[in-house]
Every structure is written in structure tokens, then in C-alpha cells.
Symmetry: C2
Subunit: 152 residues, 2 copies
């Protein structure tokens, strides 16, 4: 399966605080790209990504910061994240890291993976098949029906 | 400061899905204890703790599970968590872990620390000064005023 995936490196991660009736994170190859992955996420996931983008502050560590603070104390290197698949409205991502010269992969929700990537400044890769044109205002209502079922 | 803290080992962690107008996690020394720490938490934090208690399922790893899956792959040992202080309505906790024979401490929100402790089956310690009698139905309204400002 991995052989079939054409992965695109994401250069632009933007936040949409009021996208339809919820909040979204938009991933694009670059600011001018005409295709994107729109991730509708929960409040906690949105807050984590917004904090990494420097848009909100919170005095105490959020969940991902707690664990990244732990990992900072030991010899550990994150490599990249990959949002690689969607099956039955569920999106799948993985985090690739190295430890003692070996490469490891763990499953992740895309929203967790994006917060991690922003924190560690590592590459965000998305399967090209998952990218879509930005929905017009007209398309939004239809798109939201799908996206309400989808899980990021 | 650490020397002044009398820490109590928590043996009973229970969930209150509708405690007042929100959801809470209650920590007690044991089921019969007459003092407790009532933690009013957000939905994501509640879901993480409920999943660790086996009360809800989700097919994909939550944030804390992603990182615990990473840490499981490397030589790593969590020791205990401590909810040790409250200042200006903010509760403070820390996670103590060992790596290569050295002990480390990282700051944590109490809700993250409790989810971690349930996952790794390690001790939950609470500063005795933070425990209070269970609020009666009558007290709840008053207590909620405080608790709405407090941050777990």
C-alpha cells in the first residue's frame, strides 16, 4: 500500500476559526496551491494547533506539550508525519521517529500529528489523493455533511 | 516547598458525567474516604480518562495514547504522578519518570497526569491540603462558582 501513495510536502498550515459551523485546519503544499486537505477538528485539537502557531497562549502545558517535554529530556528525534489514507470517513496518519539508529512508526490522528509537526518543525506529508479544491461558499454545506461524519 | 507537602495515595478514581453543569473526575484515597479532590475537566480530558477506565472506546489513539505508544517503544519507566499545589485557582501536577537510571520531573495538568497514571498503572499522589469533603447537592452551586474559574 505504501508504494502506491504519492505524498505531497505541506508548506502552508492555516487555521479557520469559523469554517462553516465548526473550526478547521487547512493543509496546502504552498500558499498558492489550488488543492488542500481541510481537517475539521475538535476544540482541544484546534487549541493545540493554534498554540503551536503562536495564536493562543496557555500557561500550562497541553497534552502534547507534556509528552514532548518528556521526550525532549531523552535522546529522541522525530522525522516526519504522514497523513496517508482515508477509509470509511476516517483519516489515518502516522508519526515517524528515530531512536538509537532505528526508525519507528506509530499511528496517530492527523490533528495530533500536525500539532506535533509544528512543535518539532518536521515535515508534514499528505497523500496527494486526499487533497481537494478549496470548497466554495456554495459547496460548504454539502462538504460539511461529509465532514461531520469524517474523523480527523 | 516539597518538604511541606503531605501527599496522599489515591486508590479510587471515579467519573461524574453530569456533575453540576459539567463533567468531573473525583480522586479519593479509597472508596470510603470522606475527603476528595473534585477535578472539573474539559471534554477531551474527560474522554481520555474515561477511555483509560474502559468506559468508552475509540478506534484511533487519543493524544496521550499516541505519545505513550511512542514511549512504549523505548526504554522508559514512569514512576508516579503528584497533584501538589493550587495557586490562584490553577492546579499544578507533575509527572515523575526514570530514564537510564536518572529521575526526571515534568510539569503537567492534573487531567493529563491522571490519564497517564491510569494508562501506566502508576501511583496517583495528591497533596492532602487539596482534599475537601464531597460537596452536598446544596453546596454544588457555590462550589461550581469557584470551580468554573479553577483550571485542572
Amino acid at each position: 500500500m505504501k508504494g502506491e501513495e504519492k505524498m505531497v510536502a505541506i508548506g502552508e498550515i492555516s487555521l479557520m476559526p469559523g469554517y462553516g459551523s465548526t473550526q478547521a485546519v487547512v493543509l496546502k503544499e504552498d500558499a498558492e496551491a489550488d488543492r488542500q486537505l481541510t481537517m475539521f477538528v475538535g476544540q482541544a485539537e484546534y487549541a493545540a494547533i493554534a498554540k503551536e502557531k503562536g495564536l493562543v497562549k496557555s500557561e500550562r502545558p497541553l497534552t502534547h506539550e507534556l509528552y514532548l517535554n518528556i521526550l525532549k529530556k531523552i535522546l529522541f528525534k522525530f522525522q516526519r508525519i504522514e497523513i496517508f489514507s482515508m477509509r470509511e470517513d476516517v483519516f489515518y496518519a502516522r508519526v515517524i521517529f528515530a531512536f538509537k539508529g532505528r526508525e519507528y512508526t506509530v499511528d496517530s490522528r492527523p490533528s495530533d500529528a500536525v500539532a506535533l509537526a509544528l512543535n518539532r518543525k518536521i515535515s508534514v506529508m499528505v497523500n496527494a489523493d486526499l487533497l481537494h479544491p478549496a470548497p466554495s461558499q456554495q459547496d460548504m454545506q454539502e462538504y460539511e455533511k461529509f465532514i461531520k461524519r469524517a474523523k480527523f
